[in-house]
């Protein structure tokens, strides 16, 4: 300000004054700017990356499958007679046998080159009419024209080959194969070598057999052998259990077998059809566990036998696998359990399994149900006939080919069409495929038609997971109907059950019950602390409660799960009565307090809280304990646990409990709207003590009214035969929602309390002063001025509490029992998203569907809390702005 003019030539320090910033200061400034900007932005980016990374891991779940055509080559003779095909473990080499070709051939599956070949006679495959092999164990059963059977091993056996044992000479490229010494050497894509040998070991002798041409065979592995079934042209079925053991003296394998013949069943309707081929039994399948046998005719008539006693099969039921007189085109056994996929000549595929359904008439209580239906692929009005079907040996994925030349990949669990490609495109096949195969690692699909064989590289993705299977009910094998299920381990691991709904439900259940318990306590406590409490007391109490907010949840979980849960089991009834007795005692205490002369009351106002804390609250708890036995006798025939289990009479007690809070609210509203105005008119002449006595009496009447309303409504609902058991109440489990609610409230109450208290006490003082000055009582000020002003702050407090409850892990892990159930029963456990992630993620194989589904669960949790918190934050910012304006 005019300083230029006043500037002396030399300042009083005697040094010339610098007018420029030192370069190092400027440099420092720039450096700091760059560093802080870079560091800050990258830190923020790192934090925000969490959500993006979760999405990146979960997203491949929904990636579509890929099927890339690799190669097609000629097959000497098409599969018109017996035909067998299989690959080695990695799917790089394929063996092929067609009876009219007379050779057992080994091909390079990626390029179609013929590698090895053996004659059918050498392998005892001449005159074979039906072949079935298992991919893992290479167990094989072969049926012959004369009705005999052989059981042995056919397939490609891989053994690991060390790099040093490789034949010297030219190197083998990754993914390539080379013939060496009667075997094939495969350089796997992962860099390891394996030696693949063709195994075709069939015993010289044939086993006890049928007497006409064998037309279909099936085999399944047993603990020390295999179980096979075969059917001949006359419809006779042979089931046989073959066990192999090593003779200790001669070191030779000894085969022993037992079995029986099932004569064709001539029932009246099928006898009529016997003239046509349609009614003749043609297909035979055994279940993977080896306990069921299925025999099917072209016309769809199917029989299910119980073959647990192999010597005496028992017919369980007769059912039909097709509708509207269409014919069976192909039958495949799906991975795991008893599932069969049946394709018909009209192009649709249905998956059947035996399940404990209502109305099952079979002796074993099971019934074959068409659980999944895949409609025919759309084609331009042509009749579509399924020509081939192949099931994956490691999941419930299967492939079907139809007469229009389409190949579809279907997933049974998700009931979805994974992929659909034209098999004839790019010169793959000439016509519809007649045989197909999915390699053991699901990395390759092979199909054969009359003249050609082609291979596709398969990347199935995660076909068992789809939005429908995650969030909708799915009919899993062994289940009576479609259900929401989460089960990732256990004996039915062949079909993982990735239903997120039970976990989301559990999360919501935990949140809702915890919030129901914690929110009123926290908000009311904050109201008292900020409005009615002396500031010195408040200064001591607030840090104590804040301290509780930082208690580790593992401590709360431990206390809830190991201390509260066993105690609560002993004292459910006192806790239930406590929910009613404690507030009632407090209100009764208030009415008694009112009886004190007004002068005393204002003098004693500092003692009100100690009285509440030391006298009224313990009195309430005592009342709850004293009345528990009495209430239990009155409402639950003296035994709550038995009542909850469904015994002990009517559902009246449950309704009374459920309706009491509602009746209480109704009575309060009634008193406020009708009785109070009436009393106000009446009481103009009353003295304070008189009014206090009347109000005490009214409180008594109000309680009586509440109980009367609740009981009346409960009797009405009970008369309608409605029951709370099965809904809100039910069988008592030690670790349950009530325990979680109590434990979680330790975590949520302080959180809500702190934020709500901040919001309430930051309401400007002039508002309160104005209200009090205008003659409002502290209570009126609190309810009509302070609370509305702080409403958004209170709301955001509740939302933040909600966010914490949704994501809480340790408490629910330790106190909720971790059973993924769906049901609102307060006395039953549940599993939450967070607990599932905590227990299952360390064990989930990296990159597996389970792993990614758990990441999806984490993402769901992330999204849920993010939404809740964003709402809370926006509301809070608005509140802050409004508070500033006031």
């Amino acid at each position: 300000m005019g300083s230029l003019g006043m500037q002396p030539k030399s300042p009083f320090t005697g040094r010339p004054r610098r007018r420029t910033t030192r370069p190092w200061v400027k440099f420092g400034d720039q450096l700091a700017r760059v560093l802080i900007t870079f560091g800050g932005l990258s830190t923020i980016a790192a934090v925000l990356m969490v959500g993006i990374f979760l999405l990146a891991v979960a997203l491949p779940l929904f990636r579509s499958a890929q099927l890339d055509f690799e190669h097609a080559g000629p097959v000497a003779h098409g599969p018109t007679g017996a035909f067998g095909m299989g690959t080695d473990e990695s799917g790089s080499v394929v063996w092929l046998f067609a009876e009219n070709d007379g050779r057992l051939q080994v091909l390079d599956s990626a390029h179609g080159e013929s590698l090895l070949s053996r004659s059918a006679a050498d392998c005892r495959l001449a005159e074979a009419t039906a072949i079935r092999t298992l991919s893992g164990t290479m167990q094989a059963v072969v049926g012959y024209r004369d009705g005999s059977l052989r059981v042995g091993r056919i397939g490609l056996e891989s053994t690991f080959l060390a790099a040093s044992d490789l034949p010297s000479g030219e190197a083998i490229e990754r993914g390539a194969v080379r013939v060496w010494q009667d075997a094939v050497i495969v350089h796997n894509p992962n860099g390891q070598y394996s030696r693949v040998e063709l195994i075709a070991e069939l015993p010289a002798h044939t086993t006890a057999s049928l007497n006409a041409q064998v037309i279909d065979v099936d085999i399944t592995p047993l603990a020390n052998g295999s179980l096979l079934a075969a059917i001949d042209a006359n419809g006779r079925v042979r089931v046989e259990s073959v066990s192999q053991r090593r003779n200790l003296l001669t070191d030779a394998m000894v085969q022993t077998s037992t079995g029986s013949i099932i004569e064709p069943l001539i029932s009246a309707p099928s006898a009529a059809k016997e003239k046509s081929d349609a009614g003749r039994m043609q297909f035979v399948r055994v279940s993977e566990l080896g306990d069921q046998l299925f025999v099917m005719a072209i016309d769809g008539t199917a029989l299910r036998y119980d073959i647990r006693d192999i010597e005496a099969p028992v017919l369980m039921e007769t059912f039909s696998v097709t509708q509207d007189a269409v014919e069976v085109a192909a039958v495949a056994r799906l991975f795991g359990g008893t599932s069969l996929a049946v394709a018909d000549s009209a192009g649709s595929v249905r998956v059947f399994f035996a399940t404990r359904a209502a109305g099952a008439q079979a002796a074993d209580g099971l019934k074959m149900m068409a659980a999944k239906t895949f409609p025919p692929a759309h084609s331009s009005g042509q009749a579509v006939r399924i020509t081939a079907m192949a099931a994956s040996p490691r999941s419930r994925l299967f492939a079907v080919a139809d007469s229009t030349g389409m190949i579809r990949l279907l997933q049974s669990t998700a009931e979805s069409t994974v992929l659909s490609v034209p098999a004839t495109a790019a010169g793959a096949l000439a016509g519809p495929a007649s045989q197909m195969l999915i390699a053991p690692r699901e990395n390759r699909l092979l199909a054969v038609d009359a003249t050609r064989i082609s291979a596709w590289a398969l990347d199935a993705g995660y076909p068992e997971v789809s939005p429908r299977s995650l969030f909708g009910g799915v009919w899993y094998e062994n289940y009576p109907a479609a259900m929401h299920t989460w089960e990732t381990t256990g004996h039915e691991s062949f079909e993982s059950k990735f239903g997120l709904m039970p976990l989301i439900f559990g999360t919501l259940k935990a949140t809702i019950y915890a919030m129901l318990f914690a929110t009123p306590i926290a908000i009311l406590a904050a109201l008292y602390a900020s409005q009615f409490m002396h500031s010195t007391w408040r200064a001591r109490i607030k840090p104590t409660i804040e301290m509780m907010a930082s208690l580790p949840s593992v401590v709360l979980g431990f206390v809830a799960g190991l201390v509260v849960a066993p105690l609560l089991e002993q004292a459910v009834m006192p806790v239930i009565t406590g929910f009613f007795a404690v507030p009632l005692t407090l209100v009764a205490g208030a009415h008694l307090w009112q009886l004190l002369p007004a002068g005393w009351r204002s003098q004693l106002s500092g003692w009100r809280f100690p009285v509440i804390m030391v006298v009224a609250l313990p009195a309430g708890i005592l009342v709850a304990m004293a009345s528990a036995g009495w209430v239990e006798r009155l409402l639950f025939q003296g035994d709550l646990q038995a009542w909850l289990d469904g015994g002990g009479g009517s559902g009246l007690g449950g309704w009374v409990l459920a309706l009491l809070p509602l009746a209480g609210v109704a009575t309060t509203v009634l008193v406020g709207k009708i009785v109070n105005p009436w009393l106000r008119r009446k009481s103009t002449n009353w003295s304070q003590p008189q009014a206090a006595i009347v109000s005490l009496g009214m409180f008594g009447v109000g309680v009586a009214c509440t109980v009367a309303i609740a009981v009346a409504a409960a009797m009405f609902l009970d008369a309608l035969r409605l029951d709370t058991r099965g809904g809100l109440f039910g069988t008592y489990v030690q670790r349950n929602a009530l325990v979680v609610a109590l434990g979680m409230s330790f975590a949520i109450i302080p959180l809500i309390f702190t934020i709500a208290d901040d919001a309430l006490s930051s309401v400007p003082d002039h508002l309160r002063s104005a209200s009090l000055g205008a003659g409002a009582t502290p209570w009126q000020t609190a309810v009509r001025v302070i609370m509305p002003t702080a409403a958004s702050g209170l709301f955001s407090a509740v939302m933040i509490g909600l966010g914490r409850a949704v994501g809480e892990t340790m408490i629910v892990l330790m106190a909720a029992g971790n059973t993924p159930l769906m049901g609102w029963n307060v006395f039953n456990g549940f599993q939450t998203l967070s607990a599932a992630i905590a227990t299952e993620l360390p064990e989930a194989a990296r990159g597996s569907a389970h792993f990614r589904v758990l990441f999806l669960a984490a993402l769901t949790l992330f999204a849920m809390t993010f939404v809740v918190n964003t709402v809370a934050e926006i509301v809070r910012q608005r509140f802050r702005r409004r508070a500033h304006e006031l």
């Binding site: 200061v25 802080i36 580790p552 407090l586």
Partner: protein
């Protein structure tokens, strides 16, 4: 009254004035606060009492039952239950006795109805024995033997002789254990390092190279050296064990059964009924000392928790070192450098939200990103040998570093928010004053803003540490183990081993409380661990509150 009648303008009545005060409502709010306070104090008190009393040598009571059984133990709980078995329910009181001697009757604790109890007495020589394995033993000392020679007989003499020889035997036993665990561990690690060097040389330059030959040669020399050292260790431990092996103490249980205990299997024995208060305090202190500085025994249900304390402290410190600079950087950027606008607001809201994202989500992220992406990448580049040799990931699995990083990420939003609040609480007038004096932006931040905001930043950081110390859900995914033999910090180069899995106090609570094969016997231990953890967290929180109030006072004094 008459005055009331004369004033027609008075609209309020006694009743409505009562209703206006809403006394009932106020009492309900007060009751809620009382419940909240009762819950906290009850919880803290409960854990303090249970946790602090675990190591107190309680009186040993000899319970004689009506059926003639005699049981020696500590009475740990009493309760009244309603007997429902009769037609007329009647209350009975019963006592929970810690009977110990698990190997004899398969129980650690037993309930006795008051009606069953004939008599309770406090025998003078009742002894509680804490053993290396098998839990507690309760009985009366009979004799002390060295081989077949009876050194002492009768309770008093035996006890005297026991006290005289036990300390030395125990010392020898500990030394042998230390050699087995520590010295042998060192040898094994050397062997493994040599083997990995061979594999690495093979990977780097092939089998024909000279480095490979050198590695093989050095492995051979290491094998030879460790073998000879191992022999020396064997001799040492054998000598120590031989000195102990003959010594045995015979005890009699309350039922009269005789039981021989090896002297060196006894960690500690005391006779609570003979001890004075000072003596009891001595036992109490010794057991606390063991708890704080020793390794765990018996699946973590006895002994000490030193590895867990070390793991918790190491992880919390590394986490703080990571979170402090980055948190402050991000907050400085947001508050001082970023241009105000909707984007900054959105980022701020997002960061606020991330503070509320469940910890388990961060755990999943840590496992998926740090262990499986970052760690696996590091392994591929630097630790391929271990991967090839025994398929053992080094960084590609959970470990101290990943756990610290995960928790740093988890607490980062908390620190950013706290720092930002602290920065925004610095009055702008101070910044402007600084600029007016010619200071640059960075100078202003460093000399004026940061010192002033320091208390707020410190508070945020300490609260973050408290949260990190107690958080366990994400750690279960990224590196906490129920038993880690190698400590993450030891005396071998490079002293801190960020790739190792570690133990954690909070996880120990979950593990011992819920996964322990014998959870009832382990229960007192869980309470003590909980007590310790809460003490640490209360201490951290208290420090935060203290710093806040102290520095606030300083700045209030500066106000003018």
């Amino acid at each position: 009254m008459s005055f009331n009648k004369q004033s027609p303008r008075r609209l309020r009545s006694a009743h409505s004035s009562l209703a206006a005060h809403g006394e009932a409502w106020v009492w309900l709010t007060g009751g809620s606060l009382a419940i909240a306070i009762g819950m906290i104090t009850g919880l803290l008190l409960f854990i303090t009492v249970r946790g602090a009393s675990t190591f107190w040598p309680a009186a040993m009571e000899l319970v004689e039952l009506t059926d003639g059984r005699r049981v020696l133990g500590e009475i740990t709980a009493r309760e009244e239950v309603i007997d429902q078995s009769d037609d007329v329910p009647k209350p009975i009181s019963r006592k929970l006795v810690r009977t110990a001697n698990f190997e004899i009757d398969g129980k650690h604790y037993e309930w006795f109805d008051q009606g069953e109890i004939l008599q309770i007495s406090l025998p003078e020589w009742a002894t509680a024995v804490e053993r290396l394995e098998g839990g507690r033993f309760h009985g009366f000392p009979l004799r002390l033997l060295e081989g077949d020679r009876i050194v002492a007989e009768g309770s008093a003499q035996t006890w005297q002789a026991f006290v005289a020889v036990h300390a030395a035997a125990r010392r020898r036993c500990c030394e042998a254990l230390r050699i087995d665990r520590h010295d042998r561990g060192v040898l094994q690690r050397e062997l493994r390092a040599a083997r990995l060097a061979v594999v690495q040389a093979d990977l780097d330059s092939g089998r024909e190279s000279s480095t490979f030959a050198a590695a093989v040669a050095s492995e051979q020399s290491v094998i030879k050296r460790t073998a000879s050292q191992s022999v020396v260790l064997d001799q040492k431990t054998a000598a120590l064990r031989n000195a102990n092996v003959a010594w045995r103490v015979e005890f009699a249980t309350a039922a009269g059964e005789k039981k021989m205990l090896a002297l060196d299997s006894i960690v500690r024995a005391w006779q609570p009924n003979r001890l004075s208060v000072l003596g009891k305090l001595g036992v109490y202190g010794a057991r606390w000392r063991e708890f704080l500085v020793d390794d765990p025994r018996e699946a973590n249900s006895a002994g000490g928790v030193f590895p867990a304390i070390l793991g918790t402290v190491a992880m919390t410190l590394i986490m703080s070192l990571l979170v402090a600079p980055f948190g402050v950087l991000a907050a400085l950027y947001l508050r001082e450098y970023a241009t105000r606008g909707p984007l900054t607001t959105a980022v701020r809201i997002a960061i606020n939200n991330l503070a509320g994202v469940p910890s388990i989500v961060y755990g999943a992220f840590g496992l998926g990103f740090f262990c499986y992406v970052l760690g696996a990448g590091i392994d591929d580049i630097f630790f391929q040998a271990s991967l090839v040799a025994d398929n053992q990931p080094t960084f590609g699995t959970g470990g101290l570093l990943w756990a610290s990083l995960t928790l740093a990420l988890l607490t980062l939003p908390v620190v950013i928010v706290a720092t930002e609040e602290a920065l925004s609480a610095v009055p702008n007038s101070m910044r402007e004053g600084s600029y007016a004096c010619g200071a640059g932006k960075w100078q202003t931040i460093r000399r004026i803003v940061l010192p002033r905001a320091l208390p707020g930043i410190m508070t945020g950081l300490i609260l973050a540490m408290a949260r990190g110390a107690g958080e366990v859900a994400p750690l279960m995914l990224v590196g906490v183990k129920k038993l880690a033999v190698d400590l993450p910090i030891d005396s071998r180069f490079p002293f801190v081993h960020p790739e190792r899995e570690f133990m954690h106090l909070a996880y120990l609570i979950y593990d011992v409380g819920f996964q322990s094969p014998n959870s009832q016997a382990a229960r007192p231990m869980v309470f003590t661990i909980t007590f310790l953890l809460i003490a640490i967290i209360v201490l951290l929180n208290g420090t935060a509150v203290w710093i806040r109030s102290r520095l606030q006072r300083r700045f209030i004094a500066q106000h003018f």
